[in-house]
């Protein structure tokens, strides 16, 4: 049996590091709730002034930024999820020529960071006159997301007992029907984990937006925050409120689906 002292030591260690993780976040939330004006300082608490959020939303155009982020993220997640399910199904359950080399190409894409592609992407999309459109944010992000999603869904489909698919084949189901009616209901947890990760990665993506978009109305939330920082670094409360707004959607999703976040980031973690 473990001694009392050891037990308390464990809780002390966990407590200290949890506190360190939590303090800056609590600090910025408190800052965002402070009385607006010059006297604000990071982390101190002087009541709940939700008005900062309204000001950030309206005057700071965070409402607009969030709308852009929602459009981009929603499109990327929907497109990538559907496309990845189809591709993962083919790679995971069918045997056809060149399936292995093709899959390695996807794996390659999974490992390449946005930083390596951003330069040609900018010039390619500029030539297609797609910079400064949502497409410039959606399509490249969908590309890398599909690489991850295909990898992820393939792993799921390979874990399905083959007899299930064979039973469906004997019962006369087409591969299309088998996918959507027999396998997908089983895939719900795997798909949810994938959706959650794609949502987070897309929502938090910064470099792509920084390079592709100059029109203010297209700025995503992280990009908007960085520009806001450049203009208003003196108004601490407003900046903090903006930052909280930007982080909130992912954090809320995390609180509800933490298992999926953690499971996904730990096991599907080859993606940076």
């Amino acid at each position: 049996m473990t001694s009392r002292r050891e037990q308390s030591l464990t809780y002390a260690v966990l407590g200290v590091f949890s506190l360190i993780a939590l303090l800056p976040i609590v600090g910025i939330v408190f800052t965002a709730l402070q009385e607006p004006g010059g006297g604000a300082s990071f982390g101190s608490f002087d009541g709940l002034h939700f008005d900062n959020f309204r000001r950030a939303w309206e005057d700071g155009s965070f409402g607009q930024y969030l709308k852009s982020s929602a459009i981009v993220t929603g499109s990327v997640v929907v497109i990538s999820t559907v496309v990845s399910i189809l591709a993962g199904y083919a790679f995971g359950m069918m045997r056809f020529r060149f399936s292995t080399p093709l899959f390695y190409l996807f794996l390659l894409g999974l490992m390449v960071p946005m930083e390596a592609m951003i330069v040609p992407l900018y010039y390619d999309l500029r030539d297609l006159e797609l910079t400064d459109t949502y497409w410039a944010l959606i399509l490249p992000q969908a590309g890398t997301s599909i690489a991850f999603g295909t990898f992820w869904m393939r792993a799921f489909f390979r874990s399905v007992p083959p007899s299930l698919v064979e039973a469906a084949r004997i019962d006369g189901a087409s591969s299309w029907f088998t996918l959507w009616r027999v396998l997908l209901p089983l895939a719900k947890p795997a798909v949810l984990t994938m959706v959650v990760l794609l949502f987070m990665w897309t929502w938090n993506e910064f470099l792509l937006a920084l390079v592709m978009v100059s029109d203010e109305s297209l700025r995503t939330a992280p990009l908007g925050l960085s520009f806001f920082l450049g203009r208003n670094s003196s108004d601490l409360t407003l900046l903090a409120a903006g930052a909280v707004i930007v982080a909130l959607p992912v954090v809320v999703l995390y609180v509800f689906l933490q298992r999926h976040f953690i499971r996904g980031m730990v096991s599907g973690a080859v993606k940076g």
Binding site: S163, L164, E166, A167, A168, I170, D171, G172, A173
Partner: protein, 366 residues
């Protein structure tokens, strides 16, 4: 319902041939068991019949149709998988109805067939449950039911009982047999368990290393194994063997000689010089001089004692061979003890020492 015929069917993976020219006729309505150790090709043969594996060469027929290039769904078969392969997110009812719905069977017909299958399998109470909420035995019955509702030409069963515990296995064995006798659908049943094969099959096909060793009724296989492999595979405990030199005995019969063995068998003659002798354990007894019909004695050293209560099996090392001897009741023996045993008439089977194939002996009344 239809007959099934394999004609010189082969299966290769790349250069590796795993089924070497299988010829097998299964009669309409017959319960055929394919039995053999793992790697014998029995499951591959079944999967070729199902259309889940390609047929490298040869021909498979169901009824009068050659089905080699037919998709599984066109073959009009139903299969019970080892792991049942129930659709986890569908209810039992939906599982049973799935194949019928795919075949555009009218709704009221589906309903009727599902309910009747559920009734005969005692599943009526569970129709709205999901497979995850069923016990192993119930899930197994759903898997059977899914085949039953389809009323196909052939039932294919791939080790359907191997995931059940021993008691349930025995019970379900009887149930499958009963159902098959009711519906009289041709059934091909794959198992590695010879007890299952013996108790269920109308006929049994014994396979080994991609070859068909023997086809026959359980009695034929037991009484007249075609070769050493079948003799050693069928029966529990299995036949034991020793190699011996055979010579005509003075006054009729045959003398078998091997290291530590000098056995005169009456009523058998015409053997070649060198034979493999198979003994069924129940026909080898501890030697009893008062039993006049018994040949022997053969002396050896006890290697193991398997006491089952009502009977005891004793392993006896004689020269290079280990012979299993049957004893009614308990035997006061320990490993290391010296014993003598004898064999009852008609107990021995003789095989060619080179090829292992059975030698038909002329049995002369003594």
């Amino acid at each position: 319902m239809a007959a099934v015929r394999f004609s010189d069917v082969r299966k290769s993976y790349g250069d590796l041939e795993v089924v070497h020219g299988l010829d097998l006729d299964i009669a309409d309505g017959e319960f055929m068991v394919l039995v053999g150790p793992s790697g014998s090709g029995k499951t591959t043969a079944l999967r070729m019949l199902a259309g889940l594996e390609s047929i490298t060469a040869g021909e498979v027929r169901i009824g009068d149709r050659v089905v080699n290039t037919m998709a599984p769904r066109e073959r009009d078969i139903a299969m019970v998988f080892q792991d049942y392969a129930l659709y986890p997110q569908m209810t039992v009812f939906e599982n049973l109805a799935f194949g019928l719905r795919r075949r555009k069977t009218p709704k009221d017909e589906i309903d009727k067939r599902v309910r009747s299958a559920a009734a005969s399998l005692d599943l009526e109470k569970y129709l709205e449950r999901k497979p995850g909420q069923l016990s192993g035995g119930q899930a197994q019955r759903v898997a059977l039911g899914r085949a039953l509702v389809r009323d196909p030409q052939v039932f294919l069963m791939d080790e359907p009982l191997s995931n059940l515990d021993a008691k349930l296995r025995t019970q379900t064995r009887g149930e499958i047999k009963r159902l098959q006798q009711e519906v009289r659908t041709t059934t091909v049943y794959v198992t590695h368990d010879q007890v299952e094969a013996m108790t269920m099959g109308d006929r049994i096909a014994v396979m080994n290393e991609g070859r068909l060793e023997q086809v026959g009724t359980p009695e034929e296989l037991y009484e007249h194994p075609a070769n050493v492999f079948v003799g050693g595979f069928i029966g529990s405990p299995a036949m034991t063997f020793f190699d011996a030199d055979a010579a005509a005995a003075d006054g009729g019969g045959t003398v078998l000689r091997a290291e530590g063995i000098d056995l005169t068998v009456r009523g058998v003659d015409g053997l070649p010089g060198r034979v493999t002798v198979g003994i069924r354990p129940e026909c080898a007894r501890l030697y009893d001089p008062s039993e006049s019909r018994m040949s022997g004695p053969v002396a050896g050293e006890v290697t193991f004692v398997e006491a089952l209560g009502r009977e005891t099996f004793v392993g006896v090392q004689v020269g290079a061979s280990n012979v299993v001897v049957h004893h009614e009741g308990r035997a006061a023996l320990l490993p290391g003890d010296r014993v003598e045993f004898g064999v009852l008439p008609g107990a021995l089977r003789f095989f060619d020492a080179e090829t292992g194939t059975a030698i038909r002996t002329r049995v002369v009344a003594s």
